[in-house]
Symmetry: none
Subunit: 220 residues, 4 copies
């Protein structure tokens, strides 16, 4: 509808001219990479709002400002687009988890993880919403992919928890996988609940509350 404005015709092109439409390192042209990025952004927003099945390829193309065929030029299928989206989004989260705990002692690392999760959710709220909706579904095509990715993110938490147990900062009889998984889920649901139902409240409050819970639980 009002897409025209977002489809840059001016300066954007000059920049592209530098590369002469040529391919970048990974074998894809800059223009194409840009289109893919726009499609990702459109898809994540729409799927967060409506869910995967209720979001049409036409919707995604329209919000990205391209024609429907372009989606298929850039992605094998709607499902593949979504899987790549999941990979991309959870990969980013995992990376931030790793960056957050890097070199920190268990206690602080745990707090840093909570902070990183909230920070991530704040920045990519649509993706977080989408995760919350899809993570506990069964019988979907991309289930396999999602479980795998979830495992990678939670593994970072698990490593930290394990270190805490080893160092005596956390109770010795703690069920590590369960605790890690719960920690991840609690952060997700509390943060999304906050974004959806009380968007005006400062994130610091939420962070404090969550850190408080984690600390108290950990102390036992």
């Amino acid at each position: 509808m009002t897409r025209a404005a977002t489809h840059r015709c001016g300066a954007g092109r000059a920049g592209r001219a530098v590369g002469r439409g040529g391919s970048v390192a990974d074998g894809r042209s800059r223009r194409r990479e840009d289109t893919r990025q726009r499609l990702f952004e459109a898809a994540v927003q729409l799927i967060a709002e409506q869910g995967f099945s209720a979001t049409t390829v036409e919707d995604i193309a329209a919000r990205a400002g391209v024609a429907k065929g372009t989606v298929y030029y850039n992605f094998e299928s709607k499902t593949v687009l979504f899987e790549e989206l999941l990979r991309h989004g959870i990969g980013l989260l995992t990376a931030e988890f790793r960056a957050a705990v890097d070199g920190l002692p268990p206690r602080e690392a745990l707090a840093a993880l909570v902070r990183a999760e909230l920070e991530y959710i704040r920045r990519y709220r649509a993706f977080a919403q989408l995760l919350l909706s899809e993570m506990w579904r069964t019988n979907r095509e991309w289930q396999q992919t999602l479980r795998l990715l979830r495992g990678e993110a939670i593994e970072v938490i698990a490593e930290t928890v394990r270190a805490g147990v080893a160092s005596g900062d956390l109770p010795a009889d703690l069920d590590v996988p369960t605790a890690s998984s719960a920690l991840f889920g609690v952060g997700l649901v509390v943060a999304v609940d906050w974004l959806v139902f009380q968007p005006d409240r400062p994130i610091a409050d939420v962070q404090d509350a969550l850190l408080g819970i984690v600390r108290r639980v950990a102390q036992t």
Copy 2:
């Protein structure tokens, strides 16, 4: 809809209707009520697994063992079926919440709520999964309905929390709506995570863990 009443002309007929599989108190025949129940059960299972949009009316009918048309004889539309399902399911939960806290002092009431929520989720796991997936979506037809119902369930928690604050059992500066909402969400996500990812683990563990968290947090 309400035609039945306008057709009967004498009192004598009412007796027959009751005695021969005729209409029950709310104006629907026993057979029909049975069909509706079967459709509810089929729908909740399928939607929990695949989501609303990915579940077809044909699927629902097949699992309920009736013809497709029967769904539409009993429900206005797929959306309405789902809304009535939400109403039915959350209504049940709210009722169990009320029964759980009945007459208990704040502390014990809070524990009873956690127990009730877990018990409910264990019994109606598919519905819980479905709730987890739909509750934080935006832009869906039934959003309005869902928010309202969520409010009713959470209000029971809020009343308990408020009583706890009043009695000094809970910190005076507690943000009641946020705490209630978080409590609800945490229970949901932890329990569903457990059901989906570690179904073999006894529910008692999960209950203990959750009660532990709540108790510790409350003590502060």
Copy 3:
């Protein structure tokens, strides 16, 4: 909706008691004949407004104040109901045509036919509308029936025209079938146009206009 009132429960029944629900001359009970009549009336109105295909059996039953199953208890199928309707309606028209021309000399008979047609259309406007819409369709199930019935009605006109030609009141080279058919059609379209687009105008005007045309044409 507001059907309740039309479904008589009071005095109507007392009357029926006289017959003790027994069968009348043609082998059908009075009650059943009454139901059939009500279904005819409902059907003719709805089909005139919306057409045959767009009118549902449910619609007809509802307007007649009976259950859907009752339609099938009284008529073999929707098509058969419509065919019987056509037979009934056109049979009535043909009878009135015959009554109108009875014993009259050609000239006056022609005028009487026009008057009879208009009178009929005024009385059974819905049926006339329905005829206008269906008469020139091809490829419909009841086409055969309709052509036959149309033929019977037009035959009365044709007999009169033929008599006029024989008596010298009408031109000898007149194409009798065409003239009869046109006369019938013109009356129908002019009268229905009047009913639909200028219902406030007195029928006398229309009658005068039509008679004027016919007379002038005949004089030639």
Copy 4:
């Protein structure tokens, strides 16, 4: 819809679009326009034979030689397709009416109108049949549209009749709207009756008969 324009960034591209089956003046490709035309033709034939409701979209697509989905790529809905058809068809008739009367004195103009109507009906017999069946229906979605279009066509007749009254060629007390409307309807019903029931008879006969009637009536 109007996206094409917002996508092109330079003038250079426009040339290509025109030269290579691209978009034509009104923004639709030649191929698409061709498909639309084929769908119009298929729809008018089938609806004339069976009526709107009894004609399926699949039928229309099949007769046009395209897939069902193509109908919806080119028209918003079955109803919209029909409305555009009505607009197209009656627009054409109105244009021919205007061309027929252009510059002629009242008397001759009236005869020209009759000739134009018959000529049109002969050429587009299916459309005429369809008009005859739908024009006097009530309670249909496109009623509004149809009335409006009918009004435009009849207005041309009315202007001519009014001119005739002004010039003294027609009786001063003539009810112009009624006369115009009747003239239109009579032409329609007589011509369609002829096409359906006596297709072998030369059109000239029908034209003569109609012109005769009109002339005689007008002379009075």
